[in-house]
């Protein structure tokens, strides 16, 4: 059938995917530590109809070639790792990471995942875990008779013991950094996994070697900008309409052909 029908179809599919990405960003506007995605568009392969510099006749060359495009596609979604807003919560177990780095957590199968969500909790046996219940790596256990917990900017966790038992340092949070943050694979539940594209984690103490600092009593909000997403949504919707108009035009021509010949 008509080539332009299928080319316009690639446009519709790609805009549909972009719409999904935007909806997901908007849905996660209140997710702690969420990083927005961006759909990356790419033009598809071109068909070489007339090669440039081919022989037009015995003496002359065609001055320019003719490459027929075949549409577009979404080649990737890229996480934008810009810093989100810092929200003060006054909760001693909330830590926000200002700067680069992720907290490592242990999953049930023993492998590590990485998160920016610092809304930490205590498990029933006193271990620091994420809101999803995965223990933080390296493991930090808070003694039972703790009155208050202090988390320093460098990740030092100090427990103030009850009944004037003094303060005890119980561990230090570490941050994992990646050469290519965008290469991390999001696996849901605010977690990301290392991939070949992200490279191996560089583990460092908060505030050293380029890692960010920790801020106790704060959380990092989602970095989704609602206005930006709304504008993107309008743009996507219009681009979708333009492509569906192209389909309608091709369809109208074919219908006219069928009715009149």
């Amino acid at each position: 059938m008509d080539a332009s029908l299928w080319i316009a179809k690639t446009g519709l599919t790609a805009q549909q995917t972009r719409m999904q990405v935007i909806s997901n960003n908007l849905a996660n506007v209140n997710t702690t530590g969420f990083k927005k995605d961006r759909a990356v568009f790419e033009d598809l392969l071109y068909q070489n109809i007339v090669p440039a510099g081919g022989q037009a006749d015995a003496e002359n060359e065609t001055p320019t070639g003719l490459m027929l495009g075949t549409g577009t596609r979404v080649v990737a979604t890229e996480k934008m790792h810009a810093q989100g807003n810092i929200i003060t919560t006054e909760n001693a177990l909330d830590v926000a990471i200002t700067g680069d780095g992720f907290l490592a957590v242990q999953q049930t199968d023993g492998s590590l995942a990485y998160t920016r969500d610092g809304s930490l909790k205590l498990s029933s046996d006193g271990q620091l875990v994420t809101a999803g219940g995965q223990p933080i790596v390296p493991a930090i256990n808070i003694p039972q008779n703790t009155a208050s917990i202090t988390i320093g900017r460098d990740g030092t966790v100090t427990a103030e013991l009850a009944n004037s038992g003094g303060a005890a340092q119980v561990g230090q949070l570490q941050l994992s950094r990646f050469v290519n943050n965008s290469g991390l694979a999001p696996i849901g539940r605010n977690l990301m996994q290392q991939t070949n594209a992200s490279g191996d984690p560089i583990i460092s103490i908060p505030g050293e070697d380029g890692a960010g600092m920790l801020m106790q009593g704060s959380l990092e909000a989602s970095n989704v900008n609602v206005v930006e997403e709304m504008v993107n949504m309008i743009e996507t919707q219009r681009a979708y309409e333009v492509n569906s108009k192209a389909i309608a035009a091709a369809d109208g021509m074919l219908r006219f052909l069928n009715n009149n010949l």
Binding site: S4, Y46, M67, L68, G71, V75, G199, G210, A246
Partner: protein, 253 residues
Amino acid sequence: MDKLAFTSLAAVQSATQIRAQITNSMANVSTVGFKDSYEVAAQAIKLDGAGYQSRFQPAVKARDIISLQPGVLTQTGNPMDVSFNDKTVLGVQAADGAIAFTRRGDLRVTSTGVIENAAGHLVLGEAGPITVPDGMLVTISSDGTVFAASPTESEVPPVAVGNLMLRDASVTPLIRREDGLFQPLDIEFRGTDFPTGPGVASLQSGTLEGSNVNPIETMIKLMDFSRSFEAQIKMITQTKSIDETGSSMMRLP
């Protein structure tokens, strides 16, 4: 059969390819750094033969030179997003190893530390691919120098790690490759670097250039095609009815 039908058919056929090309521009209305390239004109070819000298068939004369008209700029605030000024193009390595050029400016650092664009093409510097030391913050100056700065030691000045291969293509016509990248029209420079033009090759960091397809213009072209298609089909129907009248006249009563 009346020869008029074939003249109309030639018009319809030549329009199909142009329409496919226009639809492709429309589909790429959101592709970062996409450049429209297709310019078309119909040329009348005179056909000699029996009858009056009235048979002129249209043939498509296409010009597939990349139009480096600027696209819409969007502020992203990401220092690795760059948009190229004027007629500047960026050298990248294509999958077949050749040097090709692009206007895509969504750059990133891979796990091995080299800079590539979001379509996965390795970005070239004046001295080959640019490697960024582990964990350094990258900034790109307007002349294409890539600086790496330590995120913690703010007193240490950023180190230049390479210069992006920026070329001014204002006097070099570019054509498209099969993978959508650009290459010089001149066969001598295909797959290699070309001498930069008189303009200053520069970029702007923190912005992305969108597609330079004008949706309104393309929509109007499509409407135009639909209507001229209908007119051609009408001509073919007319020939059909003329032929039918002719054969019915000769039918024996």
